[in-house]
Symmetry: D2
Subunit: 335 residues, 4 copies
């Protein structure tokens, strides 16, 4: 494990990468304090630190009296009975830095042990849908060819225009991220409460601004008949694979060796420059216009975060399963 | 707490309630062994037992050599390296009995402490959608007026016809369950990993046959602009409420006092009577026709199960929050 | 795994085995409900049930107004704000049945995987000390040759006389249990909080009536110099062993392959027939004479319980370590 | 909460305070990164950092080939399959800095909420015993009047002489720390596995170099009769107290409002300058003389560490109990 393994993903998460995201220029340098010697983990805890070098609490002054609509100011007050002077406190999406760091370590373990590959991409912004890419060959390099992280360049262009327009309107827009995990060994996930899809849903819905999760056929499955939805078994390599993959790589909560495929829905960011008629903490009507630096759309920066949480979940499951029995190697896909 | 509090929900989950579900006649009587005296909990663990009185392992004989498509037979083999003689083992949906029992206890605590009310209903079967009911007045009695647990009787009729037709075809069909939780106190849910929606997603995706989850505006949010999606604050009772509820009752992972509203997608049951071309455990092509008693559609029986898991999650969160500070009473809705 | 593996230890724990223990005639038959087929575990949870067939709540009537001195009646009231009608509730030592059941399963895993052997014995009753047995050859058969479970028969006789005399006086007496775990693989226990000795101490002090725990040289170590206390390394088998074993089989919280040896101190049982001047729940002075059936000394029945908790701790640690790397085989002792 | 609350205890733990301990001059300055604003906790995680400013890995070079007797070098190798270049790695007692930091935060909560006071002292060094102090009036100021932290000055002098002599011999010596926790509210600790004494034993045996733990009468209880050992109840304040305190403040695993009193045994430090005949990692006989800076006796520095772990355990239990019901105020002691 090397700092660069982590830095690579942190750089993909960092704001200020392009015109479409926030202009804060955080550097987000990771420092490795402990748990490694000569790039080898010691088996003991790994301490990582990323300093916040561009902190401007002044931007958040108004929020002390007026809770931002659809943001956490009001509920933090309800939960903790106290208001942090600094912007957003624990609710700031800066906390995802830690997830990306941890996810990069998890990924290193997964790729080294099972050859697992995890690739997320922007599958929609507003009403604009990305055509389904070839999930067997998709790579982070392909995804990163556009600043929106949409692997189809003409769609990406339309998305960028929509985001630019939205920024001019001082508004924000939602979108979806899809993710494929290849070479996941069969046997990951627990039979009842900690099903693999349950852990993935937990992880994804724990990300800021997420509202929805589906695995495999997702909500589309609800309109289908069993005879069309069922994935028939067929010999693949030394084990079984399936002809279709409506299951999204999980059967009964346990990975079956096929690619794990899921989709996450992000709402439009709550903090917008546009004036909003709302109420202050005392209930008095007021108007709020957010200052500070905010993303009109978060999905392109969410791509490495989704990957990181997927890696964390899969690594946890793999470690649990290794306690039980060595997971079988994943089904080798035919070229 | 009385056994009848639990039995009521068990009876709603039980198969054999109507023509549309499986014909097994399980009685599912709950026995309370410990943790109570004179209907009062002692603060010590509550032991409940529900015997399985209609167990027919013979029905599951073929599965020992041929894994059912889109079922857990194959992945259990991969995970545990062993095959249970009895049908489905841990993967049987009979395990949801325990969830319903626990949920009924959680609900008793929530309703007694906060007046919380949890009501789920069938919101779609196949392509047939239930019109959105009035979630402020919806009750379990209203939901139970139809065997499909669709609160709109003419829609329910069409659903029953679809399910009957599907049964004749020896096939199965998917559907959705929606759920509203009223009088949830503000402050439930943790700031980062254990956000309320993350815990609900975990709980719902841990149920058999689920593929998708959304809270509040869900995937629809991904197509919206922030200025339309944001829920503006307004004075309600002693605190703040919101004019709209796209958030589905959570802000930053923490309940805001508005109704918690979410939707769960169920795939068509995997076990069907129709012949399926698949492979046996060795990879040899074969044809499978399931015997035994199976539901063509599970959503109406899933209704009390979804309610139970919601109650369990909310009770856990309320207990965590009580350790911190007494949650404020929920916002009183205007009549 | 077979029910008899569990029943054997339950029978050693059972009251009414001899003149020296309580006269309740509990049968303590274990029923295996799930998790096994043809004596093989399925990897899924194992459910065991032991019915209480000789329950006499009447014996406990006085305790409702007068808390037994040095018993849990008063603190349960403080903790739960409620008093159970039945004797002792959760504080009854009957709860150790569950520990013995779980321990027997853990032991089966340990002995099958590593050849681990766990043998406890009564090392003192009151002032009477058992001479140190040969811990390399001690067996449960040797321990069970006397009803006190003291492996030295002349000491055992004196102990029995002391216990009989104590019973006549309607009084009770304390004692110690020692335990040796042979063939524990090196590498068990975690570096910081969950050190092996910490987990053993936790497990033993969680048993009813325990007041003290020491591992290896224990309190004697506190009077020693490092140059005498240190256990020098020497080649044993393929790895290293130590010449002495003051460490009691753990170094830095991690097993080193030498026998794990520890001692647990049990206080005299609190419930005695002798009249005691105490106060009732309101603080009014009163006199209490316990009715019901109570042990004058618990250490001989504690022997299988101590073994069970040791097995549980070691199995947990072994599973944690298997997730990390396969533990090395334990040092083979020279005959 | 203020950094000085934490620094005070860190300074008591710091080496180089006096002639009797190690000569490393670590400064151990705590930096508070997050979780507070204007000395008030926000309810969110508190991040503390203490840099290691006097790190000399060279001192530990020999250990790479020769495991120190009675130290963790050998078992870390067995556990992790790797050797850290830096001294001791996770097994260094420097890790107790984190415990002291966390304990200081816990103590602030306990003293502010319940008036809890936690005072530990050196109760023996080698064979020299400290006479039992008055535990109702003992204070940290009294304990700190001697460098050995023995509250009896003439005993302290003899201890210092013994330690100085031991240092000259390049040897080390063991000792005991006792601890009293006053104003612990009744109701802390769980009925079965997480009994208060079990959690304290776990915490204390997780400290480096500990071999033994006893609560209240401890091993002495094993020689007593119930009629002498039982603590009779008597009215105290609004509740009940006990005449004696053989229980050490816990009944059935739950605090009863009386002072919690326990004792911890520390072995002589393993690392000594004196030559030791031992084996290297390959099993070859060799002689080891430790270089580097090491304490001949650790008990005086262990005093704040024991206090910190006690505070951590009590705070955890108090938070668990607050979830259940507000703990009653502790019994007011008569002056």
């Amino acid at each position: 494990l090397h700092a660069s393994d982590i830095q690579k993903q942190l750089d993909r998460r960092r704001p200020g990468q392009s015109a479409i995201s926030t202009r804060r220029s955080e550097k987000d340098r990771v420092i490795l304090y402990s748990g490694l010697e000569r790039d080898t983990t010691l088996g003991t805890p790994i301490m990582l630190l990323v300093h916040n070098e561009d902190h401007r609490p002044g931007d958040y002054a108004q929020m002390l009296s007026v809770p931002r609509p659809s943001h956490a100011d009001y509920t933090y007050q309800a939960k903790f009975g106290i208001r942090a002077q600094s912007g957003g406190g624990r609710a700031s999406a800066r906390e995802t830095i830690g997830r990306v760091c941890g996810g990069a370590v998890a990924e290193k373990f997964l790729s080294g042990t099972f050859g697992t590959e995890i690739i997320a991409w922007v599958s929609s912004v507003g009403d604009i849908q990305t055509p389904m890419p070839d999930i067997d060959t998709l790579s982070r390099e392909i995804v990163d060819t556009t600043t929106t992280r949409c692997p189809d360049s003409s769609t990406a262009q339309r998305m960028e225009q929509l985001i630019a327009r939205t920024r001019e309107e001082q508004d924000s827009i939602g979108g979806c991220v899809m993710c494929v995990c290849r070479n996941v060994p069969p046997g990951l996930g627990e039979p009842v409460f900690d099903k693999l899809e349950a852990l993935l849903a937990h992880a994804m819905l724990s990300l800021p601004a997420t509202k929805a999760f589906e695995i495999g056929s997702g909500f589309t499955a609800t309109t289908m008949k069993g005879s069309h939805h069922n994935d028939m078994f067929v010999k693949k390599g030394d084990g079984l694979g399936t002809v279709t993959n409506n299951s999204g790589g999980v059967l009964g909560g346990i990975s079956n060796g096929e690619p794990v495929v899921f989709r996450v829905g992000f709402k439009p960011p709550a903090t917008i420059g546009k004036a909003q008629k709302t109420a202050d903490f005392t209930g008095k009507e007021t108007t709020q216009e957010a200052r500070g630096r905010h993303d009109p759309c978060v999905v392109n920066r969410a791509v490495p975060i989704v990957e990181s949480m997927a890696a964390t979940v899969l690594a946890d499951c793999a470690l649990r399963q290794q306690r039980r029995r060595q997971p079988a190697p994943p089904i080798q896909q035919q070229p």
